[in-house]
């Protein structure tokens, strides 16, 4: 296929991108389970597993924490393979040059992420886990964005068929909220990878107060009363403040997403796809806050905490996709967009359908 030939949506490429995004989402969940179960170091070697080639490690030995860590590695390999195929497919079949580079970026990203995960084990550095978790979120956004770009929806949008101006203030509001969610996920990853369990064990109060004391005497008292099966390290004043920051930012995000949904509904109308996406985003926020509370009330049960991680990832990617569509749609609505092309898609592409 000529690289200058008109592009048209390729349903199978789109479906394959959806599959890659879905498996990536599962991988984030499985990574969450590894951390929630404290199993990150249960396989001390990498890239081998207990001396075996990773793919020949006997199933009978997938016990305890090994199960989570080993299956995480296998699923990561699957995502690596899917991303490789996606990148090659895009390179060969997509006429948009920037999509080739996005595919390559995804491929390099998944390789870097795999190595980072391996180094976190071999170098025994908890702090690397924070980067590993953060890059996972960015990679998920990238794969979902690529999925969007391979969709018929995007081709039509970029061709002007769905062009509709979205006000700058609304786009800015959603973009700022999305960045705040990303910051929130970094805070959350920092909390989780300190392996200190619940820094604050009650909710909505914190150690019985709206804002807990964090002086040395108070912190010593909190630690004396903590009894946990997984025997986390003692909490510190910093960790308590970090969890309070997580709560405050969560409240701010909820208010901002509600504002985004309201504004999108009011300005774009209830039938608009972006308004619907914003409402979905708000629904995710309700679920996320409920899961956050449940995480605390369940004493950080691994499955609940992991669901909290997964909905957090979905919330971030929803905001990111909203921004991409909102900015793309507005750009496509500009008078010269149909001739100059938006994100490399020419209007003529639509003629192929």
């Amino acid at each position: 296929m000529s690289k200058t030939a008109p592009n048209k949506s390729n349903p199978w490429l789109f479906r394959f991108a959806i599959l890659t995004a879905f498996v990536t989402f599962l991988l984030i969940g499985l990574g969450g389970l590894v951390t929630s179960h404290g199993a990150g170091m249960s396989v001390p070697d990498w890239p081998n597993t207990y001396g075996y080639n990773m793919f020949t490690f006997p199933i009978s030995k997938w016990v305890g924490g090994i199960f989570y860590e080993h299956t995480h590695r296998l699923l990561a390999s699957a995502v690596g393979l899917l991303t490789t195929v996606l990148a090659v497919w895009l390179w060969l079949a997509d006429t948009r040059k920037w999509m080739h580079w996005l595919g390559l970026a995804a491929l390099l990203g998944v390789i870097a992420q795999g190595i980072l995960g391996g180094l976190r084990v071999t170098m025994r550095m908890d702090s690397l886990g924070v980067f590993h978790a953060t890059i996972a979120q960015l990679f998920f956004i990238l794969i979902c964005a690529m999925t969007l770009f391979t969709s018929r929806f995007w081709i039509e949008l970029a061709g002007g068929k769905r062009a509709f101006f979205v006000s700058r203030s609304l786009r800015t509001l959603v973009l700022a909220t999305t960045f705040l969610i990303f910051a929130q996920l970094i805070i959350a990853a920092t909390m989780r990878h300190q392996h200190a369990g619940l820094a604050i064990a009650d909710f909505p109060l914190a150690y019985g107060k709206i804002w807990p004391a964090t002086n040395p005497t108070a912190v010593a008292s909190y630690n004396a009363r903590r009894v946990s099966v997984t025997e986390e390290a003692p909490v510190t004043a910093f960790q308590i403040k970090l969890q309070m920051a997580h709560r405050v930012v969560a409240l701010a995000i909820f208010i901002l997403v509600a504002a985004c949904a309201w504004q999108a509904w009011r300005r774009l109308g209830g039938k608009d796809s972006l308004a619907k996406l914003a409402i979905f985003w708000l629904a995710l926020m309700f679920a996320q806050i409920a899961l956050g509370a449940w995480t605390i009330w369940s004493n950080k049960a691994a499955d609940v905490a992991t669901l909290h991680v997964m909905v957090g990832a979905l919330s971030l990617v929803t905001g990111a996709l909203w921004c991409i569509i909102g900015f793309g749609r507005s750009a496509a609505s500009l008078p010269d967009a149909q001739t100059s092309g938006v994100f490399g898609v020419q209007t003529s592409m639509l003629a192929n359908k």
Binding site: P44, G64, A233
Partner: protein, 233 residues
Amino acid sequence: MKTSSFFLLMATLAFLPVANAADITGVITFKGTPPAEKEITPIMDDANCNVGYTKAPLTHFYAVGAKGELADVVVSLKGITGKSTGASAAPVVLDQKGCLYVPTILAVQTGQKIVVKNSDSCVHNVHNKPTVDGNKESNDVQMPGGADLTYTFAKPEPFLKFQCDVHPWMFAWVTVFDSPYFAISDKDGKFTIKNVPPGKYTVEAVHRKLGTLTQEVEVKDAGASASFTFEAK
């Protein structure tokens, strides 16, 4: 003349009082109500670990006896450094039994061997996590029936953590001292720090959850005693 002076000196030395090393003994007690321990329920869900258990074992952060006797308190002489005899001391054994570490609180000297055994029929990974520079972290596989693993640590460190990531409820805490003057209180709350040279010392009692108490003592021929009472926080 010289010969008589020598005998005179020897006779004088023979009659001088000689101070001997002695023991510091004491009892640790706990006042108040400790937090309720929790059942280690995941152990019952693991087919490799639940053998031998009829019900889930409990955590044991507060090993308190009927009369308040407090076990697992690490008692030592504060500020004594550079006196380690760890290289020649007998190794300390840390076993993995029933998917639990036994014991969970122990203490060694710098350079003293810690021998980790696996008495279970399942794999464990022995992951120690020192936080003091000079003590090296390691994470080793120990198969069932596998060879013992041996560790030493070069620097003093309180409550250095050993854990198994395969079974995330398994923990042990090793305090490393730079001297042989330490002990851990037993189930009766009793401890004995042996062979302490005469002198004035600060005795420090540390419980992992309850913090630190100190007491000044003077060790004489008859030894010394120091008892501590921790209170619920």
